[in-house]
Amino acid sequence: MSEHTDNGHHEETFLSKYVFSTDHKMIAMQYMFTGMIMAIIGGYFAYVFRMQLAHPGEIVPFFGTVGPGQYNALVTNHGTIMIFWVAMPVLIAAFGNFLIPLMIGCDDMVFPRINRLSYQIFLISAIVLIASFFVQGGGFSGAWTAYPPLSSQAKYSLTPLGSTLWITAVALEFVAFLLGGINFITTVMNSRAPGMKMFDIPIVIWMIVIASILFMLSVGPLIAGAVMLLFDQTVGTAFYDPTRGGDPILWQHLFWFFGHPEVYVVLLPAVGAVVEVICVFSRKKLFAYKIVLYTTFATGILSFFVWAHHQFIAGIDPRMANVFTVTTLLISVPIAEMCFVIIATLYGGSIRLKTPMLFALAFMAEFLIGGVTGIYLGASGSDIYLHDTYFVLAHFHYTFFPIAIIGVFTGIYYWYPKMFGRMMNEFLGKLHFWGTIISFNCIFIPLFFLGLAGQHRRIYNYNNFPDLSGEHLQDTRVFATRALLVLLLFQIPFIINFFMSMKFGKVAGKNPWKANTLEWVADSPAPHGNFEEMPEVYRGPYEYSVPGREDDHWPQNEPG
């Protein structure tokens, strides 16, 4: 039984095609472009505060002088934006929306209008956040972790409006992603192509689904916590006020109970994109598909039991710290295993080092650094010293940058042909790649050492700390800042490549990478309705280089 899409001739206006579309691919683009614009804002904030660190007190070009309050607002919103308005919308909402119907072989999500609503709420959340920078008192400046009482009382934060708008924006973003999750889960569960059994689902789709589940299960308590924070800020309740029967540590638990699973929420889709690319570009079946799944489940479950490693010295019962050290060191096991399996996939491959593959491999090499440096922090004893230092910062940039930047580029370079019907330019891609990776390491490796030297976080000017104002340390800060400038400059080839290729790139055809998964059966770019005839599935997604076959790939929808 074959299904045909309803390719009826609708009149599409600009508004109906681009603004009010319910097509999952258009919604994906909306999320992706919004995420990219927010990335520019978040990157700009990093530029400003790093310039302040390199040249304290001097005028920063394209900003002005950076006061202490402004510095705090910049670092707060840099972190907030990168996690909630860049990593999540691009990795989950954009990739999820674009890929799920295409890769499971159907024509759209099961609830297209809820899908559209989720983007609209997301867009409003972004606008609310940006508005917070322009209100009186300025944007929220209490760190992305927003610990009360600083965040709950204006007399401490000095940003009454900014604080409230910030938490409102975050809460709206949470609602948008809960709504988005409805589509992701139900569509993958129910709307798979005939013949696509559970273990025939591509890993990236599994990852997005599991990430959505993790998000949903962990964000609830923080939504409750955010409502409580909002009430403390606006109505004068005392949920977090210790002088009136509340507890500031309650917020920390609610925040980190979400905050830790959240890092896996963003990690999983990035790993998914990397897995797809590594299989395709090494022409190899994924090594132990089921182990990848099981380690993902294990990581997901364990992620709910590690949260207080962010709070070792926060005033929790010291005995609790031991429990969380054990669970935190344990969680490194399934993740390490996942990494080993992905690397094992390379063995015996026939590797082509095209730009998507370069980024996928860089993800593995860099994320490994992030992973192992986490061990120093998960061990309670060493965390006593390393907490709140640049060591922490370097650790999480070695996980987040691979996730939010390298993983995203892996996906964009790989799926660009399907999105826009053209190939991106390889030379510009490789230029972008090397410029990004080398400068990235030049920024953050030195920061590990600054952390070891005792440099603590969120300080606008280290001249106030004699032990940290030595020439050697300051030279390191200048070096890292210069590397950031180089990193930002090397994004220009990407932007040029991205937009020019839409018009001038080589026409891609349906399956330029000779991959197996169903999205490559549709035209490039995929039309409304995706497939002329809905595909049926006969095998798993990674049957590459099957012995006895001439072709080194075997698309899922090819019979026999």
Binding site: G8, N190, G220
Partner: protein, 194 residues
Amino acid sequence: MAHGKPIATTRSATGIPTGKLAVWWVIASEIVIFGGLLVSYLLLRVRYWDEWGEAAAHTNVWCGLINTIVLLTSSLFIVLAHHAAEHNDTKKAFRYIWYTIAGGAIFLCVKGWEWNNEISHGYTITANTFWSFYYVACGLHGLHVIGGMVIMGIISFQARAGKELHRVELIGIYWHFVDVVWIFLFPLMYLANQ
């Protein structure tokens, strides 16, 4: 924009109707939200047992009891509505949905009277952290009651026209959840005051 429904909506690889999966997803996320709120409440409640016990003594157990019965009854009506919808008795389904909505309305009226009474006696949201939780938790629940009523109203008209009858069951599941939340709130906020 007259598109037909996507083919995706016609499939069911798990055998469970897609709408039902979606409702359970919504309920799961709501459970975690209310769960987080209630666990936070419990942790602080235990810590400040005496003080909060004193505050909680001023909640109106009779109102709470009436509202519990009202909600349970309204849940019965939505079950009957679903039953009617299954047998294509659209007029009956419509009526029973509105009895459910009426139950919600009574619930809100009782709550309104109750809160007005409490506030006029000085038990405001900032009086004490117990009262903060009371108003936030019951208020959040109340918002879900209102939301449920609105959706039920919309579905009632669709059902009467013979359309989307499966949605009667779905909103019923949601309404039962709203009920269950109240079943937790009632003892925690009203009864545990010894």
